[in-house]
Symmetry: C2
Subunit: 453 residues, 2 copies
């Protein structure tokens, strides 16, 4: 087991390559770091002071031992920089690129060897590092003007790729999904996904772990760590580098070889770890599992105000083995008595373009006991809908606690309705099929927190 507490909650951080030149990476990272709860030591021999903090010529001049040292210097300088870390830092995070990913494997091996000899743990090289909103720790060299950060939440992000991690952070923020711990570990000469899984298994702030992988170093260790993590958290993986060209791309990206995809896949299934097929599925699954807990059952009721959207949702249910059984006869009679004759009381229940807001309440209340999960399709192009619909759905969800997702589309009140629903932890998706994929993540669970695919 790896304790990464000093990585995510450092009391002191040194930044080697700190500067105040606007636009330089060393200035962006320092600007983000000074918000941290703890001491920050800028290291740069050219300065006495940077951004109001005393600057140090080298890590050796920094008082005491820092929990974390962040290195932002060209690749060729790293071995020398690292040697100065003897007794000065617990963990070094090497942001710099220019190692195995461009063929400089010897340089990378030298760096790994030096760190081992000194007893310093390494993150990177070739990575963005860490974001932990609970400690206001942020090592990413991305200005807030370019990338707004997601808020505090229950999703941990573990990514070999910095780019995918950042895209995911931006998408999670837009999906109103907060994060607990974020790590991009790049070339992974030391700390990697397995270490993170070990750490996250004991992290009370994390309910869902999302992982983007291209390669796995020690396969046996990875499997053990993933299995342990999946015992207590929902785990969603996106494995890239699947085809031959993808594997070549993955190798040149972080300099590690992507293993056989098929072997990897069978392992995931075994531990009921969810495998996402692409970036969008990863995002959709994460939102669902972050907002709601999976529950047993496969019976889905589709309530819509547009027939075609209901048919697309039905089709997608069939692809996921979800049952779309007709509304039981008794219930159907009761519903038909409440509704205009042209509403279709089947499954989907089609409230048509002439829907009124309250019709959704009537439908949900009538069928609540006959189904395990609900998808509410709201097409806002029609005149009869108001924002009160968000209250109706929230109340139903809070009262009965069954998995419930929504598809909202067509403009008008759609953006505001989406915001209200997601505030109430009802995940909203941009198409009927994506809504069902989200719901599929929440159905078929065993009643614990784990999700099945």
């Amino acid at each position: 087991m790896t304790n990464l507490a000093s990585l995510f909650y450092p009391k002191s951080v040194a930044l080697i390559g700190a500067t105040d030149s606007p636009g330089k990476l060393g200035a962006i990272v320092l600007g983000n770091l000074i918000r941290m709860k703890g001491a920050v030591y800028p290291v740069n021999p050219k300065y006495h002071e940077i951004m109001g903090l005393k600057a140090y010529p080298s890590i050796e001049d920094v008082p005491g031992t820092v929990d974390l040292s962040i290195i932002l210097r060209p690749a060729v300088e790293i071995p020398e920089m690292l040697r100065q870390h003897a007794g000065k830092a617990r963990i070094a995070l090497i942001v710099s690129a220019g190692f195995a990913e461009i063929g400089a494997t010897e340089l990378q091996e030298e760096v790994a060897r030096i760190a081992r000899e000194l007893g310093v743990r390494l993150v990177g090289p070739n990575c963005l590092g860490i974001y932990n909103p609970f400690h206001r720790l942020d090592t990413m060299f991305l200005p807030h003007t370019c990338l707004k950060r997601p808020v505090k939440g229950n999703v941990a992000v573990v990514s070999q790729s910095g780019a995918v991690m950042v895209s995911l952070l931006d998408a999670l923020r837009q999906a109103r999904t907060g994060v607990s711990k974020v790590l991009n570990y790049g070339n992974a000469v030391d700390i990697d996904a397995s270490d993170m899984f070990d750490y996250l298994a004991g992290d009370v702030k994390t309910d869902v772990a999302v992982c983007y992988l291209e390669s796995v170093g020690d396969g046996r260790r990875f499997i053990a760590a993933a299995r342990r993590l999946a015992d207590s958290k929902a785990v969603i993986l996106l494995k890239a580098g699947k085809g031959l060209s993808g594997q070549a791309a993955a190798f040149s990206h972080t300099g590690r070889l992507a293993g056989s995809y098929e072997v990897f896949r069978s392992v995931l299934r075994q531990f009921r770890i969810t495998e996402a097929q692409d970036f969008d599925s990863l995002l959709d699954a994460t939102k669902a599992l972050s907002f709601q807990k999976p529950l047993p059952g496969r019976r889905v009721c589709i309530i819509t105000n547009g027939g075609g959207a209901g048919v697309l949702a039905s089709d997608e249910c069939a692809r996921h083995g979800l049952e779309v059984n007709p509304v039981p006869v008794e219930m159907a009679h009761r519903l038909k008595a409440c509704f205009p004759s042209f509403y279709v009381v089947g499954n989907p229940i089609d409230l048509t373009g002439q829907v009124k807001t309250g019709d959704y309440r009537i439908a949900l209340d009538a069928v609540r006991d006959a189904y395990d999960g609900f998808v509410v399709i709201i097409l806002t192009g029609v005149p009869g809908l108001t924002l009160e619909l968000a209250d109706i759905i929230r109340d139903f969800h809070v009262k009965y606690g069954k998995p419930l997702v929504a598809h909202v589309a067509q403009g008008g009140i759609a953006p505001r309705l989406t915001r209200l629903l997601e505030k109430s932890k009802v995940p909203v998706y941009g198409s009927p099929e994506r809504a069902i994929r989200g719901l599929a993540m929440l159905l078929g669970g065993d009643g614990n927190t784990r999700a099945r695919n």
Copy 2:
């Protein structure tokens, strides 16, 4: 062959059920209709005048013969209303629901029989009807405050479902894709997709036809019409009602039985009609084919500033049989000489998080002859990118004319960059995989306008 000119370019339209009561469907439709190029006759015995137009007690009182009559009255009244159409209208569009989709098949058959006897062509029942921005004709009962309409463009939309059509219109508008002709034909007792295909084959305004289908009436006729249309236009179909539950949903939606999906599918392949697997693929394919013409070739170059996004794109290329070959040695040498040592000159070409705007120009210019299509991945979370990138990509695309798509993500300048690129007819997608799916639509063509899947 069916000439639907009087449907899409009517010189005169009657609206049966017109009113000026705010919020009523008859008021919404009339409000939209009066923008049309042509005469509009509101029909309602309760009014002398509506919205400044003379109102008529019945269709029989309207002067002469109208090209199009739109009927907005309860289902049970429709047979009587329709009988009054003798000699008064070429085509009647029945918006009202409450026919076969709720089991009222006899009523629907009666309506069909009356229209046949009178020689009046029918659209509907249970439909939204028509949108033709070139004639400012809009029969949809959706207020502009709820649904903004897409602008004029080259995409025709043919949909059995009103809801899917409206979702598609809203999505196309957001994707800056304009439309040429739009028809939702609902229960299709007379005019259906086959008639539309016949008409669109001769419509110079249309380059791409997008069709959402749940069922096909006369299979042989449909196949002949689709084949003829695909000879001159790109055709993309989304067939819903695939599984058993989907088929049941499709039946209760428009009261027509969805046929065997497998048979349908083999027919599509034969005529190189693109089949979309879900709503999002339909949209992504439409945008690509609306913006650019397919060309022969399978060799793709991926230019990115984030390694992981490039790996995901490579994986998706493999799934579509697209080749991601390394940059030829000579070119690679030239490129490496221009770039910092830590850029990865493979395929993907990874310009890393330290990219500068001009690097994309250098990369594109260097590799232009070695590939058939390009995907440019732009992750705007990094500090070095400016909006000038849109000019670089537009110039390259205009000069060489090869298929080119983009994935833009991560906030900052992303929305503005997306807008500029799409103005230049470079389709932009929200994930690497969706960008490749868009590019796949544009590669492997035979040099004509047709797309292969």
